[in-house]
């Protein structure tokens, strides 16, 4: 069965620190990859996505993610976090021909001012 692993469950950083959240998936075929974010009291929303092409994907608010096929990974990065980045981050994967996303367990990011 397809699974998505997020190894960091809770991350605490100071403002201006760099961020990297890990995401690994288990499916070996062609995949589409997503990062979603849920700010406190708000809906889940898409941060960025990868379908094909350049494995380094840039999203909103300065976030980027790199698809490394050999490592089955899609890690999320941001060079300098802000207090407003405090949120829960979810990695999600779907494979070609499948109609639904499989989500990871989420990483709660807390940025201290």
């Amino acid at each position: 069965a397809q699974s998505v692993s997020q190894h960091n469950h809770h991350v605490i950083l100071s403002e201006a620190a760099s961020l990297e959240l890990g995401c690994n998936y288990s499916y070996g075929g062609t995949v589409n990859l997503f990062w979603y974010v849920q700010y406190p009291g708000q809906h889940l929303q898409l941060l960025l996505k990868y379908f094909s092409g350049d494995p380094l994907v840039k999203g909103i608010k300065g976030f980027e993610a790199e698809f490394i096929k050999s490592k089955f990974s899609f890690n999320l990065r941001k060079p300098s976090v802000q207090w407003s980045d405090t949120a829960e981050y979810f990695c999600a994967v779907t494979r070609a021909g499948r109609r639904a996303l499989t989500f990871g367990s989420g990483t709660r990011l807390q940025v201290q001012p």
Binding site: N32, H43, L44, G97, A100, F103
Partner: protein, 115 residues
């Protein structure tokens, strides 16, 4: 523009009682519809998805069922709730296409507490 609505937003039910959570999408046709359950530390668990009226795919064997009586309506039900059914339920939609290449749009969620 497209919108998605879920209700009720909050529900407290006794064990053994029935459940009905409703989700409707406006401003689009033939969407793919999803029910997810969000639990602390466990992320989002896909429960059901539907690619059309009367077409339901179940991802996890459980006490719940889903139905899609109309193109833009998706209902999550149970005949007899269990304590373990407590959680935060999210409905989501995406444009109906042969390949899932777009993003999911989520509703506001329904928090269910079973006592």
């Amino acid at each position: 523009s497209q919108t998605i609505h879920q209700w009720p937003a909050t529900l407290v039910q006794p064990v053994g009682s029935p459940l009905s959570l409703e989700c409707t999408v406006e401003g689009t046709s033939n969407p793919n519809l999803y029910w997810y359950r969000q639990a602390a530390g466990r992320g989002l668990q896909l429960l059901f998805y539907s690619v059309g009226i009367g077409q339901i795919s179940s991802e996890v064997p459980q006490n719940l069922s889903a139905s899609r009586p109309q193109d833009r309506q998706f209902i999550l039900s149970s005949k007899k709730l269990l304590l373990s059914d407590s959680g935060f339920y999210l409905c989501a939609w995406i444009r109906g296409t042969s390949e899932l290449t777009g993003e999911l749009f989520f509703g506001e969620g329904s928090r269910l507490t079973v006592l």
